[in-house]
Amino acid sequence: MTAQTINIHQISKFCAIAIILHSAEFFFPTPIFGIKPGIANIIILFTYLKFNFKSAVYVSLIRVFISSLIIGTFITPTFFISLSGAIVSLIFLFLCQFLSHKFFSIYTFSMLMGLGHILGQFTIVRIFIIPDDGVYILFPLFLLLTFIFSLINAFIVSKLISPSN
């Protein structure tokens, strides 16, 4: 097998895990509609650290498309919210590459990705789905939860990536 075949093999394996996590998360009971821990982001961040940015883009976008087909939300508002969140969080991940690795660890990466995710989702919701400024009332709550969940996710990634595993 060539190096490229191995790479595609690995990426598809991570895609599968991300799709399972994303789909499972959809059926998770939540107290407020729309609040999810974002456990699929663990895999995105892990892929980025293990391989490179390009692989993370593949895994993230394939996850959004395939899991929406599985759940049955393809080309519905839910799908577009999910897609915009994924794209903006990838843009933030791309910008994170330029940060010094001496001072910034994966906690920063995870927090900024979470922030990007929430900003992308709110932009789409504000423009297309609920065109009213009232949606910003939910912003502080979502931001706080993003912060907590992204720290937990980063902690899990740090355990996955550690040399003992």
Binding site: F104, Y107, T108, L143
Partner: protein
């Protein structure tokens, strides 16, 4: 007690973090606090605008009064207002409770009723921070 191989002391002292992470951490926390602050420090409105059917009327907020429209009872109490009674089935308008800040509004869709708080000087949107 150990969590994922780290002792509680290590986690509390944040040995897992690097210096830049603290920076992002505090920026994130301050964004949350600022956005919460903006929401709770909105200015109060001057008058109440009620539109019922095709009519729109204005009432001052600095009074204690109960207004009665056909099916709806509105209570104004020194700067705040609420829908007290309504004949609609879901009673969402009654559950909304007091409103007091600029551009906040209460609606009762079955009765085509809307009331919102306005200001003479400030016209920006209350929730747009």
């Amino acid at each position: 007690m150990k969590l994922f191989g780290y002792s509680m002391r290590e986690i509390l002292l944040l040995k897992l973090f690097k210096l830049g992470d603290f920076l992002i951490f505090f920026i994130f926390i301050s964004i949350v606090i600022i956005s919460l602050n903006f929401y709770f420090q909105l200015p109060k409105g001057d008058y109440l605008e009620i539109s019922h059917g095709n009519e729109t009327k204005q009432y001052t907020l600095m009074q204690n009064k109960t207004l009665i429209f056909d099916e709806i009872e509105v209570e104004i109490n020194m700067g705040k207002a609420k829908i007290k009674k309504s004949n609609c089935s879901n009673q969402y308008c009654v559950m909304q409770g007091w409103i007091s800040k600029i551009n906040h509004s209460a609606v009762c869709i079955p009765n085509l009723f809307k009331m919102s708080i306005k200001s003479k000087t400030l016209s920006y949107d209350s929730t747009n921070y």
